[in-house]
């Protein structure tokens, strides 16, 4: 099935050694999944028809959610199955190689770097945290009718200042959530908050972070998240949402320092 022009190789992820626990039976488009050994690593790959998933297909369809969604979900499902009980390094989309030799050469060059990255995530999985503003207090404060135009302007100024300070207080609470969860994480990443239109949520998002958590500390991490949810809910009307475990998509860079993203160009 290699290098005959009838298929391209899609690379899903990398595991150490020759085995990957239970290999999912199928990946993108219900095609079989197999391993290609490269040194001390195994690359999880699938053989895909070029007409549907090759370079031209990517160039033509990559911005079409109807095409990309099943590809993304197929890619993710394979990695998600693997990460249940094995350490896996997820590969970025698109990961198409024309044949097995090309793939093998590329991963041979990257071999030592990939080992280092696998060591960093070893025994850990990613958890996603979103903090939303649950109850936005949009009601104007009850105040006496202003006696004059000047009184009205003073009143408005106070209202705007109060609103400004409460927004700052909420942002501080969101940072407290991040820092609290970072204490039970090996590493943490702050990503840009998702646009309301993209998240499909009506509530504003105040924090979008990812945390690399040891498998045997996941219950502690979740307990901290529950406590923080109670705290910021009572203090600022915020809500903490956690999803996971994920393959460590956000932690494929080797670093012990928290990486602060989203600061703009």
């Amino acid at each position: 099935m290699t290098s005959n022009g009838d298929s391209v190789l899609h690379a899903y992820g990398v595991v150490e050694g020759a085995g990957a626990g239970d290999l999912p039976l199928t990946g993108i488009g219900q095609t079989p999944v197999r391993l290609v050994e490269v040194g001390d690593l195994s690359i999880i790959v699938g053989d895909l028809p070029p007409s549907e998933y090759g370079e031209a297909a990517w160039a033509e369809h990559a911005q079409d959610p109807a095409w990309l969604e099943p590809v993304a979900r197929g890619h993710h499902d394979v990695l998600q199955t693997l990460v249940e009980d094995a350490d896996v390094l997820p590969l970025r989309l698109p990961g198409i190689y024309p044949d097995e030799q090309t793939l093998s050469d590329a991963f041979t060059s990257a071999h030592d770097d990939l080992i280092e990255r696998l060591c960093f995530v070893s025994g850990h999985r990613e958890w996603s945290v979103h903090v939303f503003l649950e109850s936005e207090d949009t009601g104007e404060p009850e105040t006496a009718t202003p006696a004059s135009g000047r009184d009205y302007l003073l009143m408005r100024k106070q209202q705007v200042e109060q609103k400004g300070s409460s927004q700052q207080e909420r942002q501080v609470l969101a940072i407290e959530v991040y820092e609290g969860l970072n204490r039970t994480s090996r590493a943490s990443v702050v990503n840009l908050v998702q646009d309301r239109a993209l998240s499909g949520r009506t509530e504003p998002m105040l924090l979008n972070s990812a945390h690399l958590v040891a498998r045997d500390e996941e219950q502690d991490f979740l307990a901290v998240a529950v406590d923080l949810d109670h705290y910021v809910g009572a203090t600022g009307g915020l809500r903490v949402e956690v999803s996971g475990p994920w393959p460590p998509y956000n932690f494929t860079h080797v670093s012990d320092e928290p990486r602060m993203d989203g600061g703009g160009p």
Binding site: Q63, E69, F107, R196, V226, R239, V240, E241, N250
Partner: protein, 69 residues
């Protein structure tokens, strides 16, 4: 509903969460990947624009997210 259920979003994974991870994260290996990194960024930007109704998109924020690496 337990506390844990309360903080867990539903089982459904939003496409934007997937795309942010699968195109914004993960390892890049080799020079034979069909789309250059710049190309990936364009896909990402375009996709995010497609996913969101045009009148609601904060284009400046999208630009930041694409150039974040």
């Amino acid at each position: 509903m337990t506390d844990l259920e309360r903080i867990s979003g539903g089982d459904d994974i939003a496409l934007v969460d997937l795309v942010d991870r699968l195109i914004g994260g993960g390892v890049v290996v080799g020079g034979d990947i069909v789309l250059s990194l710049a190309g990936v960024d364009l896909v990402y930007l375009g996709l995010r624009l497609v996913l969101a109704p045009a009148h609601e998109v904060d284009v400046a924020a999208l630009g930041n997210s694409v150039s974040r690496r």
